[in-house]
């Protein structure tokens, strides 16, 4: 069995997660989600945009094999009311009673206590099992860790943005820490773009990018964001692969450094 074919513990949640996860934001189709599930992918991240393809797939899978699926519901609500609304509406749309993870989306400052209280209330009522948080500001995660409130972190990590290796990963406990999901693995596609490569260098493939993230021992799951079935198929090749070898890693660093030096619109704005 290849290194990334099996499942690993998603930190202190105790759930077993596939190394590849799927994000819905770019419009993954129902068919692609179902194919990925059959291939062993069980981390379904419904956010930042809650597109229909994944919702339909979750409904279909949950009807028969709910326990085999990890449903992550991202919520951008910044008040208790909008958070509650977001969670309830999301669950209804997915046709499930409980999400495995509610992810507080894109908090570049610590969430207000009122939000955390509302989340705790929803959790106590069984609307979700574990609380997660995402942010583009890496230094905040140490504070998030200290609160002990979060079970899952969604972290920007890729060959160009390797700051988590110094800002976050060294501070994670050896055991009992949060599950770590890496997003923006392709750096919004920049690492795949021939025009953004160093002269004479072939770009990374999407699979290379996911393998880069998963080669770090702290990353449990790398989230792909396929736009179509072809991109899903390419991402699924990760399940038949393993960590980057030293030469591949050196190449990824070289490309990542070059891409990082040329700031993209998204990297400036997020």
């Amino acid at each position: 069995m290849s290194a990334f074919a099996g499942k690993v513990l998603l930190g202190r949640t105790g759930m077993r997660v596939s190394r590849l996860g799927i994000g819905s934001a770019y419009g993954v189709t129902e068919k692609a989600c179902l194919k990925a599930f059959e291939a062993g992918v069980n981390y379904f991240f419904w956010g930042s945009v809650r597109t229909p393809g994944m919702a339909l797939a979750v409904r279909r899978i949950a009807a028969r094999r709910r326990e085999d699926l990890i449903v992550v519901l991202e919520c951008y609500g910044r008040s208790p009311r909008t958070l509650r609304w977001s969670v309830e509406r999301g669950l209804k749309s997915l046709g499930i009673d409980t999400a495995d993870v509610v992810l507080l989306g894109w908090h570049d400052s610590p969430p207000a206590e009122s939000i955390l209280d509302a989340a705790a209330s929803l959790q106590a009522r069984g609307r979700f099992r574990f609380l997660g948080i995402s942010s583009h500001r890496r230094p905040l995660f140490r504070g998030f860790l200290d609160t002990g409130r979060y079970d899952v972190f969604h972290i920007r990590y890729n060959a160009a943005h390797r700051g988590a290796e110094t800002d976050i990963f060294p501070f994670l406990p050896e055991s009992g820490g949060p599950g770590i999901a890496a997003f923006t693995n392709t750096r919004w596609g920049d690492l795949l773009n021939p025009k953004k490569m160093p002269p004479g260098t072939r770009p990374l493939s999407a699979a290379d990018c996911y393998r880069f993230s998963l080669s770090n021992e702290h990353v449990h799951v790398a989230i792909c964001g396929p736009k179509n079935d072809g991109e899903m198929d390419e991402a699924l090749t990760v399940l038949r692969a393993g960590p980057l070898d030293p030469d591949e890693r050196e190449r990824a660093h070289r490309i990542g450094d070059h891409v990082h030096a040329v700031r993209s619109m998204m990297s400036v704005l997020t």
């Binding site: 339909l56 951008y76 910044r78 999301g90 749309s93 989306g105 997020t270």
Partner: protein
Amino acid sequence: MAGTGRIRKAVQRIMVTVFSLLEILGLPRIPRDRTREEGEES
């Protein structure tokens, strides 16, 4: 780079607001009964 920081913060607020509105409005729409219809057919 205080200017960049302010722009970044403003963009983040706008995008969070947009995503939150999409969640509250239930957009994009999801077909409600397609799974059941297909399940009945199969």
